[in-house]
């Protein structure tokens, strides 16, 4: 027990779902003692123990209770029953920069946020430069944070939270925001903290980062702990179950998402609009995603991740980045990604189509590497790398 950092014993958390949400005295008096509320158990009888120094993952579908569990651990929510014990200094990253006041400067916000996370003013003054350097905010530190770009905002929030030197760090989906560089920085920092023997509890939908970081994983389903154990095994069972439950992907590719919208097929079309099974470098082509919405979806975002067979990211065109997001979509249809020229160099690639909401955080359907295809040699003679910049060379001798 001495080396237990986080202990949860038979934790249950209930939410009241009001039939009519009406917080007024009149409503309270009118309904008297009759209970119109309906109970919903977000977390039910969950127990686990995380030893010091372990990185522990909480996974599960949306609404499975893993974020509620994390909020109970941070003491934001108070569980109805059960016992939670967290030893040592805790820092939590539920939403980066959530304590920031938009009108105040970055400097003032660093001190406020640091104080919320339990750092003394003396310590904060000592670490201030480190925090600002790490966030890469520079001279903007005295600007009101409402003028910050979302990237700066998030970086500053992250920088404060990790410079608190927590013994236990609780993280919710933080890795999903920010640009590539920021995500790499986060991952490096987590790896450092792990090496320093700090305890990290992580909620994530990104199975690849869970796989890379976590020692053990707890899989939540309908508020209960479905499985707890070795990361690889639990993830395999989890992604497997998501497939089986949906009962669709027959080719054995991992698939997850909440299922309101689905990608039912991916096709490659040549320049003439006819189906092809391979693309030619430098020639026009179209990637067609067939979708089906089971209910009207507001502002769905389609994305198509392209990786090499080794898993190296190449590109991820998506409708949000291209500014092509419909207000609402229902029924079925297809989305065409027209390419004037295929800029991929010859080789084998894999496609992962994804439908998500506008934030790209809530995934309706994710079909990992559902299509593998080859690119043939075409107009370009380039061979090194995965893509061509379609250069136009000019050599100008002078003198």
């Amino acid at each position: 027990m001495a080396d237990t950092a986080v202990l949860a014993e038979h934790v249950s958390k209930k939410f009241r779902l009001m039939k009519e949400r009406n917080n007024s005295l009149k409503a309270a008096i009118m309904r008297g003692r009759r209970v119109v509320a309906e109970d919903f158990w977000a977390v039910r009888d969950v127990s686990f123990e995380v030893p010091t120094g372990e990185t522990f993952g909480l996974i599960g579908e949306n609404g499975s209770g893993k974020s509620t569990m994390l909020k109970c651990l941070t003491r934001i929510l108070r569980p109805e029953t059960g016992r939670i014990e967290v030893r040592g200094k805790v820092s939590s990253l539920l939403e980066l920069g959530s304590g920031f006041h938009p009108e105040l400067s970055g400097r003032e916000n660093v001190f406020l946020n640091g104080a919320i996370l339990g750092l003394s003013q003396k310590e904060l003054r000592r670490r201030f430069d480190t925090i600002v350097d790490y966030a890469g905010i520079g001279q903007f530190i005295d600007e009101p944070v409402k003028n910050y770009s979302s990237g700066m905002y998030v970086r500053l929030g992250f920088s404060v939270a990790i410079n608190v030197d927590p013994e236990v760090l609780l993280v919710d989906e933080v890795l999903a925001v920010g640009d590539e560089g920021f995500q790499r920085k986060c991952n490096e920092k987590f790896a450092d903290m792990k090496a320093e023997g700090r305890t990290i509890i992580l909620v994530s939908h990104a199975m690849s980062s869970v796989q890379n970081m976590c020692d053990r994983v707890a899989w939540f389903e309908h508020g209960q702990l479905r499985e707890l154990g070795n990361t690889r095994e639990v993830i395999e069972h989890y992604t497997g179950s998501v497939d089986v439950e949906r009962g669709v992907d027959d080719s054995g590719h991992p698939r997850w998402g909440s299922g309101e919208a689905r990608v039912n097929g991916v096709e490659l079309l040549g320049g003439d609009g006819l189906p092809v099974d391979r693309l030619t470098s430098g020639s026009p082509a179209t990637v067609r995603l067939r979708y089906e919405m089971h209910e009207p979806i507001a502002q769905p975002v389609f994305a198509c991740y392209v990786t090499t067979v080794n898993g190296q990211p190449v590109s991820a065109p998506n409708t949000r980045a291209s500014g092509c997001v419909p207000d609402k979509l229902d029924g079925s249809g297809h989305v065409d990604i027209h390419l004037d020229e295929v800029r991929l160099l010859p080789g084998t690639y894999e496609l992962t189509p994804v439908i998500s909401d506008i934030t790209m955080m809530k995934v309706f359907d994710h079909r990992q590497n559902v299509l593998r295809f080859d690119v043939e040699r075409g107009a370009t003679g380039e061979e090194w790398g995965v893509t061509t910049l379609s250069p136009r060379w000019e050599i100008v001798p002078e003198g």
Partner: protein, 274 residues
């Protein structure tokens, strides 16, 4: 046990939250801090014209200061009243206004109403400091004793305000009517308290249809004692009535206890209700 340790470690957070409250209040306004002084001045002007000039209200005589100015008589009670009202109202708005902080971070939630009272206290001390300078210029007395007594009174008003702030802020999360109700309640309350008029104008009056003296009823209102004590120490330069002091202190600490208990019982579900 844990909460005591928490409070100790939260002192710095409290000062930070208070600073945030103060800094953000007048951010981006041209006159900035001056507004916190202009508001009571405008109030004083209105009340002085309406009650002092039109209705001819005069401060009763008494005390070593020999002050006769209605505006100063008014300010001695109006500023503490404003402080109390600001403490309660900004506490009440504060929990909902800081919903994101409550939903995404953990810290003792009592600090939010406490910081609202703290911010109001800072403004109040500045106002009272300036008022004191003016009083010293106009009156012919000087007594450090009663100035220190005024500080004790300010502390009691803070306790009273914190108690009401804790109580109503957490109730307001569950019943959003509270905020609107309080707005009207304060309007009625200030006239049920001898702030803009001296209590002597009620002498000899009875409640309609009864033999109960209006002054007796007025005495039940703790703010009546508060107003008269501030006038004693600041305006007249004399000692406050010890019974009034005891009565007001009982109210202040009683309400603080009630506020802490109710807040403690209801704060557990704050993150869900916001």
């Amino acid at each position: 046990m844990t909460t005591l340790a928490e409070y100790r470690s939260s002192r710095e957070l409290l000062s930070n939250l208070t600073l945030r409250e103060l800094r953000s209040k007048y951010k981006r306004s041209f006159l900035g801090w001056a507004w916190s002084l202009l508001n009571p001045l405008a109030n004083t002007l209105v009340y002085t014209v309406v009650f002092g000039v039109l209705f001819g209200a005069k401060p009763p005589n008494g005390g070593p200061s020999h002050l006769k100015v209605y505006a100063l008589y008014l300010l001695c009670a109006l500023l503490p009243w404003n402080f109390f009202q600001a403490s309660v109202m900004s506490s009440v708005g504060g929990l909902i206004g800081n919903g994101n902080l409550i939903k995404k971070t953990y810290f003792p939630r009592e600090l939010l109403p406490a910081s609202a009272v703290g911010a109001a206290l800072v403004s109040h001390l500045i106002e009272m400091g300036l008022l004191l300078v003016v009083l010293l210029c106009f009156g012919d007395y000087w007594s450090l004793e009663w100035i220190l007594m005024t500080l004790v009174l300010i502390l009691l008003v803070s306790v009273f305000g914190l108690g009401a702030g804790l109580l109503f802020s957490v109730l307001n999360v569950y019943f959003r009517d509270i905020e609107h109700f309080l707005g009207i309640f304060f309007l009625l309350w200030i006239y049920a308290t001898p702030i803009v008029y001296p209590p002597t104008v009620l002498a000899g009056h009875h409640l309609p249809g009864t033999h109960i003296a209006a002054l007796t009823v007025l005495q039940v209102n703790p703010m009546t004692e508060m107003a008269s004590m501030f006038r004693q120490t600041m305006f007249y330069g004399g000692p406050p009535d010890p019974w009034a002091l005891l009565y007001f202190a009982l109210w202040a600490f009683g309400l603080l206890c009630l506020g802490l208990v109710v807040f403690g019982r209801l704060e557990g579900r704050l993150a869900e209700e916001l």
